[in-house]
């Protein structure tokens, strides 16, 4: 292994030095000469008709450069949706227009009505208060089931209803599933809500539009997880700027969790306004704005049914889900409840028949899109809760019931279209039983009881489809983009490397982990490798970071490019060593001739590539720089088993997490420390969803959880010590690193463990409670206990 860490080393994160010392460079740290500031006047009603907007007084206020309204965007494209779902009748989804600034109607609290550009942010805000807007209130639709009733007010008047699509999967299985339910020895039914969440990355969104008339060049600096995707969507679909005249830069980004994947109206506005005013235009979201303009997550209402035979084998599964789209379709919103949710409903189990129905619904709320896990947590939560309920109804051990139904042979083609390449679910469950010390539970239960506390144990499994994914497959499923990844590896004359990757790092640690891979491949120090990302001007076209895909897809592209580098370097080395190329071996940063003591150092070869005095110019070009695009042929399938122990205070209903264990199979591991951190963070978010977080609208569409006074984020003392293990490794069979991805696992696997544990605690105390909807706040648990 290289001295400062190759594959498998817990190398400390090099980027943390700048993050922790205050020298990180975030979008809000950037200021362009002469920049103006924009303030968005946002709707304070959920649904209304814009009767008039009078900007006369506001436009005359100090410092105001210009006030824009929806009328300024007539003829300009709307915010596009990147995924088209086809419904169960073979028809495309209903796809409403999404103007940059509201036109005709406002459709959620926070919908931008006007944008004031002024010399200072305060002047812009002052002027916005002087804009006179006359809005006729319309009745709001908030509840999804009411939204699809006949005669419900329509969010979009030009659509036939508030139903975006009615998706059935696999439609051909529907009758067989129905038959299996009729034949079942036992059917367990569970209705549940996957609570709506607000991502709350530490850094709010920021956008700066810049325009250089000299070269007719637009630049957008933005807090994005995927600058190339923003360039494509905004350039091609909204503003009509060709990609070679548009640069998108995402510098250090302070967390994304999915909500910074999407192309937002504020980005398009700043780019548009900068061109119109010939002046940079900057927007920095306030935290309050973030609550009502960042895409929200989850928000499913489901009924799931599990059919079992007399021997407790799962025979069929069906689920009906209402999925909230909010008022407009955010970039990947339609894919989340379908292709990231329905296709995961098999979980870790060999259920032969599955039918998934999803009704996606428009409501007068903020758009909903991918949030850490995106569809897979919703699938896992439904499945692992209904299995737990079935075990309790049947009086069997929940772990034994799961084990009995585990998939054990791979590859395994599920009845919901995907094929798992590898896995060993018994191994992760064995490991979980060990690290969670399940054999010691009874003693801990007794100890809790002695203090008057109810203790419960919850266990669940999960599987996810990561490394998103094969372009030809997602294209068939409705994606309007490819999902490959790219890397350019540039070797300098003195032997150092720069890797320009399409994967964006906003907390994942790419700048540390990616060099470890190259260090291992070449046998040089990781410190000789620099990672460059986040700027369309220097990185090749990449699809960005989400879906736990960076190492599996972006890392694989980097491996492919590095393989090309090594192949060429071997040719140069063969020339220098006067040997046959086939005899050249690369080890520990030196090329040697097999079976001899002749060798040439990595640095001598790279120097020769750029100072080609003694060089086979007739055979190969000078220089050492290669690009590769990698498009995998399948998703990756990380899996695992999680256990949570809670204590419930019977007097107050407050549940606290006492122990948490996670046994994951991520395939091969590059940096175990970073993986630990990813799992820790994911579990913290899962515990947040299970116990604390919940976005609440009132029936008029006012956001009741519009600040941290009412939206409960998990804090350090809400989460326990985590027993985390990833020693069970079944390497991915189809990418060169054998890696599967670990970014979302914690958030996917943890909510059912927590809820299963609370239900267990209450049932052990004699309660007949079978379910409580998240978040399991003290008041909800108490209300359930006192029903």
């Amino acid at each position: 292994m290289p001295a400062d860490g190759g594959i498998g080393a817990s190398t400390k994160r090099r980027e943390d030095i700048r993050f922790l010392s205050g020298t990180g460079r975030y979008t809000d740290d950037l200021n362009r000469p002469g920049q103006a500031y924009v303030f968005f006047l946002r709707s304070n009603v959920a649904h209304g008709k814009i009767k008039s907007i009078n900007t006369d007084d506001a436009a005359a206020m100090p410092g105001v450069a210009r006030i824009f309204t929806g009328a300024d965007f007539e003829g300009v494209g709307g915010i596009p949706c990147g995924w088209q779902v086809t419904d169960k009748h073979g028809q495309p989804m209903q796809e409403p227009a999404h103007p940059v600034l509201a036109q005709g109607k406002v459709r959620h609290v926070g919908d931008p009505i006007a944008a004031v550009v002024a010399d200072t942010a305060e002047q812009a805000r002052d002027a916005a208060e002087a804009i006179e807007v006359d809005i006729e209130d319309l009745p709001a639709v908030i509840d999804m089931k009411k939204a699809v009733e006949e005669g419900a007010p329509k969010v979009h008047d030009d659509l036939t209803s508030n139903l975006c699509y009615d998706w059935g999967f696999v439609e051909e299985n529907k009758d067989a599933v129905e038959q299996a339910f009729q034949d079942a020895a036992h059917v367990t039914t569970l209705e549940l809500v996957n609570n709506r969440l607000i991502a709350n990355p530490m850094e709010p969104r920021v956008a700066i539009g810049d325009y250089d008339p000299a070269g007719d060049m637009s630049t957008l600096y933005t807090t994005s997880q995927n600058p190339h995707v923003i360039r494509l969507l905004m350039g091609a679909f909204v503003l009509g700027i060709p990609e070679h005249k548009l640069r998108v830069v995402s510098p250090d980004v302070g967390g994304g969790f999915g909500t910074k994947i999407f192309h937002y109206a504020e980005e398009a506005f700043c780019t548009f306004a900068a061109r119109a005013l010939k002046r940079p235009v900057k927007w920095t979201s306030s935290r309050s704005e973030a609550f009502m303009s960042d895409a929200h997550g989850r928000d499913h209402v489901s009924t799931i049914q599990l059919a079992l035979d007399a021997d407790n084998n799962f025979t069929a599964l069906r689920t009906d889900t209402y999925a909230n789209m909010g008022a407009y379709l955010s970039t990947f919103a339609p894919s989340v409840p379908t292709w990231l949710h329905g296709v995961l409903m098999a979980g870790n189990y060999k259920t032969p028949l599955i039918y998934v129905n999803v009704k996606a619904v428009f409501t007068n709320t903020v758009p909903v899109d991918a949030y850490r896990g995106a569809g897979r947590p919703e699938a896992t939560y439904q499945l692992e809760r209904v299995i737990d309920k079935a075990a309790r109804e049947l009086g069997v051990d929940p772990i034994a019931l799961r084990r009995q139904n585990f998939i054990t042979e791979f590859p395994y083609a599920t009845p919901v279209a995907v094929e798992y390449d590898t896995g060993d679910y018994h191994a992760t469950m064995d490991k979980l039983e060990e690290i969670a010390d399940l054999s010691g539970f009874e003693a801990r239960l007794a100890e809790s009881k002695s203090r008057g506390k109810l203790r419960g144990l919850g266990v669940n499994c999960y599987i996810e489809a990561c490394g998103i994914a094969p372009s030809n497959l997602v294209g068939q499923l409705g994606a309007r983009a490819g999902l490959y990844e790219s890397a350019t590896v540039r070797v300098n004359a003195t032997g150092g490397l720069v890797v320009m990757t399409g994967s964006h790092s906003h907390g994942q640690g790419h700048e540390t982990a990616f060099p470890q891979v190259i260090a291992e491949m070449i046998g040089i120090d990781a410190s000789m490798v620099e990672i460059v990302h986040g700027d369309t001007a220097n990185a090749p076209m990449g699809m960005g970071t989400y879906g736990s895909r960076s190492l599996a897809v972006g890392g694989s592209a980097m491996v492919r490019a590095t393989e090309k580098i090594i192949a060429k370097a071997k040719k140069i080395a063969a020339h220098l060593l006067e040997a046959s190329e086939g005899d050249i071996e690369l080890k520990d940063g030196a090329f040697s001739v097999a079976g001899t003591d002749k060798s040439v150092a990595w640095g001598d070869v790279t120097l020769a590539a750029y100072v080609p005095h003694n060089y086979p110019l007739e055979v190969i070009e000078p220089g050492l720089e290669e690009t590769a695009f990698y498009d995998p042929n399948n998703f990756t399938y990380p899996s695992g088993a999680y256990a949570c122990e809670v204590e419930v205070d019977p007097d107050t209903g407050k549940a606290t997490i006492e122990r948490f264990a996670a046994a994951d199979d991520f395939g091969n591991i590059v940096n175990p420390m970073i993986v630990d951190g990813q799992v820790h963070g994911g579990i913290a978010q899962g515990i947040g969803q299970a116990l604390l977080e919940g976005c609440v609208y009132d029936e008029d569409g006012q956001l009741l959880t519009g600040s941290y006074m009412d939206y409960a984020m998990p804090r350090a003392d809400d989460v326990p010590y985590y027993h985390v293990d990833h020693s069970c490794q079944t390497p991915c069979t189809h990418n060169p690193l054998g890696v599967k991805g670990c970014g979302e696992a914690g958030a996917i696997g943890s909510p059912p463990a927590v809820v299963n544990a609370v239900v267990d605690a209450l049932q052990r105390n004699g309660s007949s409670i079978t379910h409580i909807d998240m978040p399991l706040s003290p008041s909800r648990v108490w209300a359930a206990m006192t029903q």
Binding site: T652, L692, G694, T705, M709, P775, S779
Partner: protein, 260 residues
């Protein structure tokens, strides 16, 4: 926030004079007022800072009475320890930032229905000292965000009789970590007091039924069978009126047990 003038008087007399100006408002630690200003929900023309006035700061213990200057921050009260239940309460308010900026006078004068200090003042039988009078806590807190303070009158200090026994138990609202319900109990020369914050639509209140029961038997058992009605309790996404009423009973028992 909107523009305003900020004056920083160094004497109480100058502060009172400045507060006599039109639209002038006192600014103490600013832990409620500054966020309100930032959201443009208030537009004072002048803010009179009280935190530069030395005579409003500090903690004095005289003959069993603890006098805390109105501009004393929570962290100083938490560190003091003379009145352990009060110091513990102060140490549980907000986070270190809040505790080192927020002041007891500001909290008492604001009378947030979920704030902790009003429970301590009412539950200790404290006296609120203003620039021109002294008001018993029983008469000071008049309703949610309402007090007996007149226009231009400020809290210069709070006098706490240090009781024989006292304890505060707070059940936190999960998001804000203000008191969803907080109960302060004390047993002193003037009897037993039970003050409840967070629960009632009328703001902090004394639970007299519990006080009566505890007067003859200061033990958790004395509260068996007692409950406050849900009627008039706050109901929101964090807890129904019935839940808050229930918590009053639970927390009062715990506070009595903790007071010993």
């Amino acid at each position: 926030m909107y523009d305003f003038e900020l004056t920083r008087p160094t004497s109480l007399a100058d502060a009172i004079k400045a507060l006599g100006e039109e639209d002038a408002q006192p600014l103490s630690g600013g832990q409620t007022l500054v966020p309100t200003l930032r959201q443009r929900l208030a537009m004072p023309s002048t803010l009179v800072s009280l935190t530069g006035i030395e005579e409003l700061k500090g903690i004095k213990n005289e003959g069993g009475t603890l006098t805390i200057g109105g501009a004393t921050c929570h962290a100083d009260v938490a560190r003091d320890g003379t009145y352990p239940a009060l110091s513990e309460l102060a140490g549980l308010i907000g986070d270190p930032h809040v505790r080192n900026r927020g002041t007891i006078g500001g909290s008492i004068a604001n009378n947030d229905p979920s704030a902790c200090y009003p429970a301590a003042a009412l539950g200790s039988g404290a006296t609120i000292v203003t620039n021109n009078r002294e008001v018993a806590a029983d008469d000071f807190f008049t309703g949610m965000f309402e007090t007996a303070l007149d226009e231009g009158e400020i809290v210069t200090g709070v006098k706490f009789p240090v009781p024989e026994k006292a304890a505060y138990v707070k059940f936190e609202q999960p998001a804000s970590r203000f008191a969803l319900v907080g109960v302060f109990v004390s047993k002193g020369a003037d009897g037993v007091r039970v003050a409840v914050t967070g629960a009632s639509e009328g703001g902090v209140f004394r639970w007299s039924e519990a006080e009566d029961a505890l007067s003859s038997n200061f033990s958790p058992d004395a509260l068996d069978g007692l409950s406050v009605p849900a009627d008039g309790m706050i109901g929101d996404m964090h807890g129904s009126p019935a839940y808050r009423a229930h918590l009053v009973g639970v927390l009062t028992k715990r506070a009595v047990a903790k007071a010993g």
